[in-house]
């Protein structure tokens, strides 16, 4: 519709000329190789101008058959695949796996190992959220600054992990029954030092991003989901908490020794991208709180493996669905034993998989540029989506 006003002596009233435009929907393919997709992910968006009318995601480019491979190895051998599902939270994924095997086989683990596992897993949550802040900052326009600032802290945590287990990404440090070896002597002091640095780093990120006008304008009310919608899509983790549901497996179905610590669950209100960012930021502060308590309570010495471990694990026939709170949501291992030394069935419940399935309702009706922000706020790890 074009409006034109003609002034002069001929016409004194505005003339409205109406025209019919025929618009054609356009398909835009994003990915599989695209910086905004955070991995090998493809989506085909149907846009009318700049408004997204349909979104079809395609996944599976990284499918390696980790479940089938885990079923073909013995219970201890498949641990390495857990590092390769969620490579940003490898300790958390390993922890779920070893917990599942231990519960299936009825193995009790020493308290010191439990503390070390919890500390490393919480550090890994910090590491993963730092990575999110950096990558998400890049998505909304902080090219470089957010990434370098957060990676500075992430490097410190990775240095700590390297000192503990000798690797920076693929740790393979947890064992069925405990740990591979004792952490180094100055583990507690180093952890306290890293925590001091990380706390400052969280403050830096907060100052850089939270109140920035451009950041808020790009994130507010983008990708909003109601609580019912999020639950229906199986969304868990910070995304669900941002929608106002205080569901955290560390509290709702407490595992390990989380009942010994005091902390709070941050909850959002609107369920939009900005709330997801705020929830993750506050979760990092709460992780620091948990870590300080755990480091103070941790036994300074003691065994890290049970005195007697079977040479070959043959759990009684049975099944378990072990689930824990990973940085991205509920990570579950459904493991079925048939009495032999190989699991009959291993199913990895990936939080990213279900969080990503809720992408379509988030981006429909929004702008094309907001689709990228919504995708970034899911904090996807495509290796974990595809397994």
């Amino acid at each position: 519709m074009v409006q034109r006003t003609v002034e002069g002596d001929i016409l004194t009233e505005p003339v409205v000329i109406e025209r019919e435009f025929e618009t054609v929907d356009m398909n835009i393919n994003i990915g599989p190789q695209h910086p905004a997709t955070h991995g090998v992910f493809r989506m085909v968006l149907t846009v009318d101008g700049e408004i997204v009318k349909d979104a079809v995601p395609y996944i599976g480019y990284m499918h390696r058959g980790g479940e089938k491979l885990s079923e073909s190895l013995d219970y201890r051998g498949a641990l390495g695949y857990q590092d390769r599902t969620d490579y940003l939270a490898a300790f958390n994924s390993e922890w779920v796996y070893v917990n599942a095997v231990e519960r299936l086989a009825g193995i009790e683990i020493p308290e010191r190992s439990e503390y070390v596992r919890l500390i490393l897993a919480e550090f890994n949550r910090l590491l993963s959220h730092f990575m999110f802040m950096g990558a998400f900052g890049t998505d909304v326009g902080y090219f470089g600054t957010a990434f370098t600032w957060t990676f500075k802290e992430r490097e410190r945590i990775q240095d700590l992990f390297e000192a503990v287990c000798g690797d920076r990404i693929m740790y393979n440090y947890f064992r069925v029954g405990g740990l591979a070896w004792d952490p180094h002597e100055t583990f507690v002091e180093d952890s306290h030092w890293v925590l001091d640095q990380v706390e400052t780093g969280i403050g830096d990120v907060d100052e850089l991003m939270t109140d920035n006008e451009v950041f808020v304008a790009r994130c507010r009310d983008v990708g909003a989901m109601s609580a019912e919608q999020a639950i229906s899509y199986g969304v868990t983790g910070p995304m669900l908490r941002a929608a106002g549901v205080p569901f955290d497996l560390r509290v709702d179905e407490p595992y390990s020794i989380y009942d010994r610590f005091h902390w709070e669950i941050p909850v959002g209100e609107r369920g939009d991208v900005y709330d997801r960012y705020l929830v993750r930021l506050e979760e990092m502060r709460q992780s620091v709180t948990i870590l300080r308590q755990a480091l103070d309570q941790m036994p300074t010495s003691g065994p890290i493996m049970p005195e007697r471990m079977p040479a070959r694990l043959r759990p009684e026939p049975g099944e378990i669905y072990m689930r824990q709170e990973n940085p991205r949501g509920e990570y579950g291992i459904y493991m079925v034993s048939d009495g032999t030394d190989q699991p009959w069935r291993v199913k990895m419940r990936s939080p990213c998989f279900h969080n990503l399935s809720s992408l379509k309702p988030q981006v429909l009706g929004g702008y094309l540029a907001d689709a990228v922000v919504a995708l970034g706020s899911i904090d996807i790890v495509l290796c974990e989506v595809d397994r």
Binding site: R103, S232, S256, G318, R387
Partner: protein, 332 residues
Amino acid sequence: MTSRRTPATTEPERSEPAPGSIADVYREVFPLIQFEAALTKGGDVALTIPVEAIHDVLERGRDEARLQMNLLRNQTAVDWEERGLEIVYHLYSIPLRQAVTIKSWLPSDGAVVESVTDVYAMADWAERECREMFGIEFIGHPDPRNLLLDEDLDIHPLRKSHPLAPIEVEQGVDVQYFTKQHPPPEPEQAAEDSAQPAAAPTRKRAEDMTEEERAERRAEQAERVTRARELAAVRRAERLAGAPPAGGPRQEGAAPPTPAPSAPATAEAPAAASSPSARAATDDRPPAPPAPELPSIPDAEDDPEGRAAAQAERVRLGRELAAARRAQLRGQ
């Protein structure tokens, strides 16, 4: 050293859950459905129901005030081979903080379940994955395409009958990945095909080929690989024997790399012996010293001392050879 485990691990399998558990609530809500309850090792209640009741149990379980199972957290299946397939739904109630596992048995062939995508949106992707991995058909699914696997693949990898690929290759099993079985060509058609000129001017793309052409090309490629391997084996044998390499022109373009300064000990030594001789074809350097006769290594059980001595001897010979080669490369 204290334990953190709940006593759930000591419960025997298939034990009936305690009275007052969620199994009783389900039995009250659904009086007409037969629930077979068991306690899993994780302490959850697992209810096995007839397959026809799945949609009803999940939908009313979500809306019923005493259950409120609003989160379908996981959905998968287990292949029990001759016992059939077991489909598993892990449900959780966020308001009431209670978990339950709903299971059902399906036949291995022609497994059909009613889709629950209208109850839980999460089931959309979960059922697509389950369909492609196990071959279970979900009636009423809005978009039953492959999700993780390639779009054209019609295999079910998580079935126990589907072996791992390396095993298949080792066993020499014909890996028929595409189940779109085309019938064998008609005799007339085959005659026409053979009458046509054999060499096509342009190379056809794989998508445009028929199944027979594809198989033909596969066979052709496999034969080429086999021939190349045989040729390589012959060349290797010739080099090991110290004979001049066959097909001299091949050596000119690709001269083998210079041996590393460190000694290539033991078994590596004879293979590396070809390097100087190959260079000799292009350079006018003196020929390489011949590889020495290496002592064989006896088994550790038969003769442990002799084994150690033989290994040490081989290492020494390898080092000598390497030193000689270094000297030769320097042109001395």
